[in-house]
Amino acid sequence: MKTFEKPGDVSPVNCLKRRQFLCYIVASAALISSCTKDSGSSGSNNSIDLGSGDVGVLNYLYALEQLQTSFYIQVVSKPYKNPLADDELDLMTNIRDHEIIHRGFYKSLLGTNAIPVLEFDFSSTDFSNRDSVMATAKTLKDISVSAYNGAAQLLTNASYLLAAGKIASVEARHAAYIHDVFSDTSYGSFADNTVVNTDGLDLAALPDAVLASVSSYITSSLDASHLPTN
């Protein structure tokens, strides 16, 4: 069996300690430099500034998690009448519960830097109609996966990167499930060529493209102009 050089590799417990320590260093530096920063506040044109740097990226992901949470709360609170599988509404409830935690996690992590609660518009979705719900769910999930894939590189703090990476793959599990139950007769839809390219890579998109593609669902005006671009 072949072994590999392990860059900076130590046991998981020690990794965590080192990460926490590095996090402390980064946090200390951030505290010092953040005095002039005014992220998360409303700009002059009443749009909500996501902020800059890692805070901006986290607020952007927080906005997307708010969007999904709002959607799944409505899916579960007025469930459509014709689920195809017995456990379908249970699993949609599971997804809602996951989104609630993702949203709460970002809010807690961002603290006073967090953007406010956003307003959403799902009037294009007929929540009593399974196909309509699944179509919106599929769109939001695939966008969410692509958003995480594109946003990871914008983060400079390794701890935030890992946290985003932990959520990203759960979003992909959700996406595959929605694909599977939405296209029940079309096997292979969970990873079809609408979401996975010929290199076997899932979609990735940067914040501007992501926010443009979900703009019809977000009533609040978001200012993403200070987000990092690479």
Partner: protein, 273 residues
């Protein structure tokens, strides 16, 4: 701020720290001198820059990570190719297209990683020789669809966790990091589908597309190492099970957890001759 305590803590955490830098004495000396010259508030920056030097990624590190990923993809690609060509294994018609797709995507990962490694000036690892019975632990892997599914699930869930464990190691290279995220997502899509098949065919009737706690979904102790740590609910110091609306169950499900390179090599090593 007592620098000696900080160095002691770093040493405890990473005994090799001074191999990455200079000797302890030299480092202490450097900082002691610096302490007199720079303001206390600047110390975090100085310390951060020292640690950054110690842990920053060289191309060699990135190639090691990519070769690790390539080995994992060799395993998955050959696993599905063997299953699809095994006359002894009956894959239901309804699932043939899915497993063909999964196999194609694993093979695409092998090609992509090989090209990326070559493009960065590295040498792609050679494909190991595999024994998918795990030296007899899974004797009917290519005879029994249920056993095949159990290993498929384990490999995909392990794959998700393996990529996750390397994300921070790729932080200095945007394009490789993004590709790792993109592959991780595809592994997660595969995992979710395999888990759903196991749910639908009654192998694991309570199984979800996501991982609950450190539960193997009725596969058992032979794959426990692939699920250990998934029960974590603490994220960046936040107990996510205590957030509004949260339960421990959903808190464990909604974050996938990383595995280290050593963890993963121990797991897949059982299938490498």
């Amino acid at each position: 701020m007592d620098l000696r305590n900080i160095f002691n803590a770093i040493e405890t955490t990473d005994p090799e720290i001074y191999e990455r830098l200079n000797s302890r004495r030299e480092v202490m000396h450097r900082f002691t001198n610096m302490g007199g010259k720079i303001a206390l508030t600047a110390l975090p920056f100085a310390l951060g820059s020292m640690l950054n030097k110690a842990y920053s990624q060289t191309p060699t590190d990135i190639i090691s990570i990519l070769n690790f990923a390539l080995t994992l993809e060799y395993l998955e690609s050959e696993f599905y190719a063997s299953a699809l060509s095994a006359s002894s294994l009956v894959i239901p018609d309804s699932e043939a297209a899915s497993f063909n797709l999964i196999q194609q995507q694993e093979a695409a990962h092998v090609n992509f990683l090989t090209n990326t490694i070559t493009g960065l000036g590295g040498t792609p690892a050679t494909k190991p020789v595999f024994d998918f019975t795990g030296s007899g632990t899974y004797p009917t892997v290519f005879n029994n669809f249920g056993e095949f599914l159990a290993l498929a699930q384990t490999f995909e869930d392990t794959g998700v966790r393996a990529y996750k464990g390397q994300l921070t190691g790729l932080i200095a290279n945007n394009s490789v990091l993004m590709a790792a995220m993109q592959i991780q997502a595809v592994e997660a899509r595969h995992a979710a589908h395999v888990r759903r098949i196991r749910n639908l065919n009654g192998t694991a009737p309570n199984e979800c597309p996501w991982i609950t706690g450190n539960d193997t979904s009725e596969i058992g102790s032979s794959v426990q190492a692939s699920y250990n740590g998934e029960e974590n609910v603490s994220q960046l110091g936040i107990d996510t099970s205590k957030l509004p609306g949260a339960t421990v169950k959903s808190a464990t499900e909604c974050f996938d957890e990383p595995l280290t390179m050593d963890d993963v090599m121990a797991i897949i090593g059982a299938f490498i001759i």
